[in-house]
């Protein structure tokens, strides 16, 4: 049997996505810091050593997380749209590739959260008739996202039927 491999999708997302991921990652680890601060005030015992140990571990992990995660995500996150299909690759530690034929697309949707607005980014979501497989492209430049949506919408209208 010939080896069949998929190549990566053609386009990377916007480089600013790294900043966005770093910022949301920082927000996540801040939640952990809040828990620690609470622990600091609730704990009545004299010894502060456990707090300091946990604090140092937090600092190290956060630093590694904020440096590694956005870079890794940026290298993984890719997308491609051809006249007949959409192809995405997402994740970092766990990765996922999704393919959907244009003919099976039901909705195309652009979303901008507060953080992505800050970096002029957008998330494009492509849904099919299956509840299992919406394709999401995070961290697209807003202009690129708009163009992609227009192209996909035009292509979808041209195709009849959605296999329900």
């Amino acid at each position: 049997m010939p080896r069949s491999r998929l190549r990566e999708p053609a386009h990377q997302v916007s480089p600013r996505a790294r900043l966005m991921w770093a910022l949301s990652g920082a927000a996540e680890s801040l939640v952990l810091l809040v828990v620690q601060v609470l622990w600091w005030f609730i704990d009545e015992d004299g010894s502060r050593t456990p707090h300091l140990v946990v604090g140092v571990i937090w600092l190290l992990l956060t630093a590694v997380y904020l440096v590694v995660m956005p870079q890794w995500r940026y290298r993984v996150h890719r997308w491609e749209a051809t006249p007949s299909a959409v192809y995405t690759q997402t994740g970092w530690i766990a990765q996922e590739r999704r393919i959907a034929p244009i003919s099976r697309i039901q909705t195309v949707d652009l979303a901008r959260g507060p953080v992505s607005q800050l970096f002029r980014l957008a998330t494009v979501t492509v849904t099919t008739a299956s509840a299992a497989g919406p394709l999401k492209i995070h961290g697209l430049d807003v202009e690129d996202a708009r163009r992609l949506i227009d192209e996909l919408t035009a292509a979808t209208v041209a195709e009849p039927g959605d296999a329900t």
């Binding site: 049997m1 080896r3 069949s4 491999r5 998929l6 190549r7 999708p9 491609e80 051809t82 007949s84 299909a85 192809y87 530690i93 766990a94 990765q95 996922e96 590739r97 999704r98 393919i99 959907a100 034929p101 099976r104 099919t128 008739a129 299956s130 509840a131 299992a132 497989g133 394709l135 959605d162 296999a163 329900t164």
Partner: protein
């Protein structure tokens, strides 16, 4: 549109469409049909108030208790009861439906008026449900499922059973809805003639039920072939499935409230003290056996309630009909055109007892309906029965019985690490705790059980993994506690996912997920070698795969 009628008897509405003259072959299309606004069956006047009363039972009870305790001596409680009954009557008088220009329209509500319309050609499923009161009165609730996600469904609660069946046949088979009110030229119909629709099904009914002619439209008789009839001996499979046990627990939970009341009243103190004279393991044993017997009994009761008189038939118009239920009867119709495949399920207990069950993979059923069991084609039954029905429904013997391609040594290793490593960690943790903090030794023994079981579990899980591709179907199989062989139409696949965790990438494995609009929405080849998984995608969707293939 004029108001049709408000009394209890309809005036004889003349047919809006000229009936086809006898012998004329072309019936009017559904979209040309127009009916007057019609009400639900007047017998619902008996049911709606009861339903409303049950809905407002807590409030009513409150009012009545208040009425008893306060000495105002008023008739408030009766006024409240009347209001509730009135509300029920209003529901009847404010609900109307009609079929017009190929649309089914439902109008309801007094204050919040709502009109729900659905194009008849988007109807995917029509379910008839008759809870016990409906059954006594010969009524059925009609639930019309459309191509959407299930929110925009139409519920007609309720019509007379023959009328409901007839409406279903017309909608599902896209036959003509003929507006015959009382036409004597029709082939003699049995049962009540139905206003606004053609007469109910009639015709030669075979006593054995092997093949029955169903009257559907004046010129298109359909035949119904029986694929499966219920065998009471199947109830022995009921306690062997989690579904059975869960339904037992549901009944138990329901009964628990009553039980507790009696337990509190009965003086159990003496019985309990007499029990404690035996060694504890006897009590444990008796308790376990008692629980097993109780759960088995309840599982059987649940099975009987749900599947009694289960009957699967195929209509020549291209639908599968499922009828089932002891007190509440349900009739589900699945268009074979919408059938995307089958799931042959074997929960662990059924596998040991050589049993199985069969589900349809189909579009148009909501998640709730699937959980409620509308996609069942065979309830828990002997495997031979499951195989026979599967072969009758799906004309692809290879997909149902061919040996599957195993997922190879890497998948086997992954199954073993994933089963054994957590068990090892647990055992090690227990050992450390016994050494350090005097954990009782029997806890350690209990913690060893997963370690002993895990290799067998891993081996069985690996044995379950497999995939196969036939000319028309993708077959995947997995699972230990519920082993499932999913047979999915290649045409029904509408997208792909290739999922890889960090360890899967190192092992060269992937979960290859075929997404579909039907059934569970996605069917997965778990831990398939990446090359083999991608080969599946390439075989099924060469055009799609080719665009993104590495050169």
């Amino acid at each position: 549109m004029t108001e049709p009628w408000l009394g209890d008897r309809p005036p004889a509405v003349p047919p809006l469409l000229p009936l086809p003259p006898p012998g004329h072959a072309t019936p009017p299309e559904l979209r040309d049909v127009e009916t007057d606004w019609r009400r639900l069956n007047p017998r619902m006047l008996l049911i709606h108030p009861v339903q409303e009363a049950i809905r407002f039972l807590p409030a009513l009870a409150g009012v009545f208790i208040l009425g008893r305790t306060s000495d105002s001596g008023g008739y408030w409680e009766y006024a409240a009861l009347l209001a509730v009954i009135g509300l029920g009557l209003l529901r009847y008088f404010t609900t109307r439906f009609r079929i017009e220009n190929g649309q089914i329209e439902l109008r309801k509500g007094l204050v919040n008026k709502r009109v729900i319309a659905t194009p008849a050609d988007r109807v995917r499923t029509v379910d008839l449900t008759s809870p016990i009161f409906h059954r006594i009165l010969g009524l059925a609730k009609v639930e019309i499922g459309t191509a959407g996600t299930g929110k925009d469904r139409l519920v007609l609660d309720a019509l007379a059973l023959p009328e409901a069946r007839h409406l279903r046949d017309e909608l599902i088979h896209r036959r003509n809805v003929v507006l015959a009110t009382h036409d004597t030229d029709m082939p003699a119909p049995q049962g009540d003639p139905v206003d606004g629709l053609a007469p109910p099904p009639a015709g030669p009914t075979d006593a054995d039920g092997r093949s029955t002619t169903v009257w559907s439209g004046p010129d298109t008789p359909g035949t119904e072939t029986v694929l499966l009839t219920f065998d009471p001996r199947w109830v022995r499979f009921a306690p062997l499935t989690l579904t059975g046990v869960f339904s037992a627990l549901a009944i138990l939970g329901f009964g628990n409230q009553f039980l507790q009341r009696y337990l509190q009243q009965a003086d159990l103190g003496s019985t309990v003290s007499s029990l404690t004279r035996h060694p504890i393991w006897i009590d444990v044993l008796v308790g376990l056996v008692g629980a097993a017997v109780l759960v088995s009994l309840l599982a059987i009761i649940g099975y009987v309630l749900q599947f009694w008189a289960f009957r699967l038939t195929r209509h020549s118009g291209g639908t599968l009909h499922v009828t089932r239920g002891l007190t509440t009867t349900r009739e589900t119709s699945i268009e074979e055109k919408r059938l995307r495949g089958l799931e042959v399920g074997q929960p662990f207990g059924l596998r040991l007892a050589r049993g199985g069950r069969l589900h349809a993979i189909t579009t148009g059923l909501t998640k709730k309906e699937q959980e409620r069991g509308s996609a069942w084609l065979v309830p828990s039954a002997p495997r031979t029965v499951v195989d026979r029905v599967a072969a009758a429904v799906l004309d692809d013997d290879e997909a149902l019985h061919a040996d599957l391609t195993p997922h190879g040594p890497a998948a086997r290793r992954r199954r073993f690490t994933r089963a054994v490593v957590p068990a090892l960690v647990l055992a090690a943790a227990a050992w450390v705790l016994i050494r350090t903090v005097d954990l009782p030794a029997w806890v350690g023994v209990v913690c060893l059980v997963p370690l002993v079981v895990s290799p067998f579990l891993a081996a069985d899980r690996y044995a379950g993994l497999g995939h196969h591709l036939t000319a028309r179907h993708l077959v995947v199989r997995q699972g230990t506690f519920v082993r499932r062989r999913d047979v999915l139409q290649r045409d029904g696949i509408i997208g792909w996912k290739i999922e890889q965790s960090f360890f899967q990438r190192r092992a060269g494995l992937a979960h290859v997920v075929a997404t579909t609009a039907a059934g569970k929405q996605s069917y997965v080849a778990y831990d398939v070698p990446l090359d083999a998984g991608l080969a599946l995608v390439r075989e099924i969707d060469p055009g799609l795969f080719g665009q993104f293939a590495a050169r």
